[in-house]
Amino acid sequence: MGVILQVKNLTKRFGGLTAVNDVSFEVERGSLVGLIGPNGAGKTTLFNLISGFENPNSGSIWFEGMNITKFNTSKRVKMGISRTFQIVRPLKTLSLLDNIIVGCMSPRGKKMSEDIGINQLASTILASVGLIDKARIPPIILPHGDLKRLEFARALASNPELLLLDEPFSGLSHEEQMVIVKLIKELHKEGHTIILVGHVLRELMALVPRTLVLHQGKLIADGAPDEVVNKKIVYEAYLGRGES
């Protein structure tokens, strides 16, 4: 298939704290990868580095063969990287539909909407996550589960090749998690590359064929979930709240 993302010796320090410490890995096109680790391991920082919200102190990031380390965020989105935020960031004064329309106004989103028009594409994206009946409502009054789905939908609006999902399951009930799991599975089947950060390990481990484990900024394991879980070093890093 081919490698879509390469991270080489990536390091990020915040003052005295090394949040990401010499991390290297590759992600194949079309794969579904989980990124786990205890709180503070550096998972969100790693996402920030890949999506362009932080600049690394050293190391490089290669996307589809191009060195994107110096590219800014919107340029990376233009290349096909899209991310969600752990704490949802909806646009508070706009309706849900407008939230999606903003994403559709990005260069890739506009290209995707050339045939059917931005309004209809945005409606379709909302419908696919099940929020279409709330299209004209602003996010302020919506429950957390809906906002998480909105976050997911907004990431899809820019038609990404690589989707970085930061804690897509946190704060959701089991049924709501199932909805997101189903969407992720469908996207994966269609050939998109997805990296998931998660704490809800039971769902994550059942879903992803490959897991990266981060601990104190270092990549300590990389492999299938059942292999990784049995490694002593991972056990010792005490994987979150779930049973290991």
């Binding site: 063969g65 960031r89 646009l91 290209k111 209809q120 419908a127 299209a135 820019s158």
Partner: protein
């Protein structure tokens, strides 16, 4: 695109790693959407987003639309009926300030880029207009647009350094530019370039118009104001406006969605500067000269005051606030004249300094800020609607 990939491709030492050039077509929507698209007939009739014409129709037939249109009729015909220079003057200033305040609202309220130096574009517009009329012999009509365009250029000049900052630092940067202009245009030593204390005296607009009187000036400014406000409202309600609001709400999130926020912030500065420049051109043509006071910080604060009084991030709120200021000033003026005529403390009311009205207005402003959260236009409309419903018996 493929050639670019070849040249950027890293040197492969590891044979196992290949970089594939085939990708999913960029314009193909996700297949997970297709099943929703198949329900197209049902989906899109049900979830149809109303068109601009539908929105306009529903606005006109609503209570707000009724109030808006009635307001428009009032501000057009009341001065015409009263037919006195004082009233024409008040309403012309109200209209100029409306355009000016709305320009600030579009930049700061709608797009979230708070500007404390709006007078810079107002003044550049005014000075440019005056310069082209007096020194280059242009007609007033093109000079006004040239004022707007040169204001855009200055807006870019301000925006490029200032947009590196956000929040209070952006505001201070814009203020710095307007104060810079204030000093440049005041300095006697630079008066051979920047006109100094004298500024540029200009015959007023009422002289340029073919009838040569203030009524024509009033009508010209009215038409231009309606056009400017309608254009700004159109931007506000358009997708460009949606992006501006998105940048205001959460710039990082908007950037993450793929929007080049820096470019759109520059657009906001340019559009705002254009309308401020137009307003500045009319201001200079009305008062009869372009002088350095047009760049004062008070002039920068006027649009902020008008917009906050009326209601921020609405565009219509700025218009309301500007009229409120002009009409309150007029009212207080008339009130004090009335007191003088009636013989109440004539020594006091006859010799009032003009600053006294500003003092009263400041007190009114403080009271308004204390008791209304988001300006007085929305509560006024709501209470009017309650009253109207009561009258028609709902």
């Amino acid at each position: 695109m493929n050639e670019k990939k070849e040249s950027n491709r890293q040197d492969q030492q590891d044979d196992k790693v290949q970089i594939v050039l085939t990708r999913r077509p960029i314009d193909e929507p996700f297949k997970i959407f297709s099943k929703h698209m198949k329900k197209r007939a049902k989906t899109f009739i049900e979830y149809q987003v109303p068109s601009a014409q539908d929105n306009l129709k529903s606005w006109i037939t609503s209570f707000r639309g009724g109030i808006g249109l009635m307001g428009l009729i009032l501000v057009t015909f009341i001065p015409l009926m009263l037919n006195d220079t004082v009233y024409y003057h008040t309403f012309i200033m109200a209209m100029i300030y409306s355009i000016y305040a709305a320009s600030w609202d579009l930049l700061s309220g709608v797009s979230g880029q708070v500007s404390f130096g709006q007078a810079a574009y107002f003044g550049i517009g005014g000075y440019s207009c005056a310069y082209f009329i007096i020194y280059l012999g242009f007609d007033w009509f093109p000079s006004i647009f040239i004022g707007g365009i040169l204001a855009i250029l200055f807006g870019l000049l301000v925006a490029v350094p200032c947009l590196r900052f956000t929040g209070p630092y952006l505001a201070l940067g814009t203020l710095a530019f307007s104060l810079l202009l204030f000093n440049l245009f005041h300095m006697a030593s630079l008066s051979h370039i920047f006109f100094g204390e004298q500024g540029i005296p200009v015959p007023t607009l009422s002289i340029f118009s073919f009838k040569g009187n203030i009524i024509t000036e009033f009508l010209i400014v009215l038409i231009i104001m309606i056009i400017c406000i309608v254009v700004m409202l159109a931007i506000f309600n358009s997708r460009l406006g949606t992006i501006f609001k998105a940048i205001r709400d959460d710039e990082t999130s908007t950037e993450a969605a793929g929007i080049n926020t820096m470019r759109y912030k520059l657009y906001a500065f340019m559009i705002s500067a254009f309308f401020a420049g137009i307003a500045g051109s009319f201001y200079v043509l009305h008062i009869g000269k372009a002088d350095y006071n047009i760049y004062s910080s008070l002039m920068s604060f006027y649009p902020i005051i008008f917009t906050l009084v009326g209601g921020i991030a609405l565009i219509s709120g700025s218009v309301f606030g500007a009229y409120f200021y002009a009409l309150t000033n007029l009212f207080l003026d008339e009130l004090f004249d009335f007191f003088t005529q009636m013989g109440f403390f004539p020594e006091f009311f006859n010799n009032l300094p003009t600053a006294f009205i500003s003092l009263i207005f400041s007190i009114i402003l403080l009271i308004l800020i204390r008791f209304t959260e988001r300006g007085i236009m929305e509560p006024t409309i709501k209470h009017s609607k309650t009253l109207w419903d009561l009258i028609i018996g709902k």
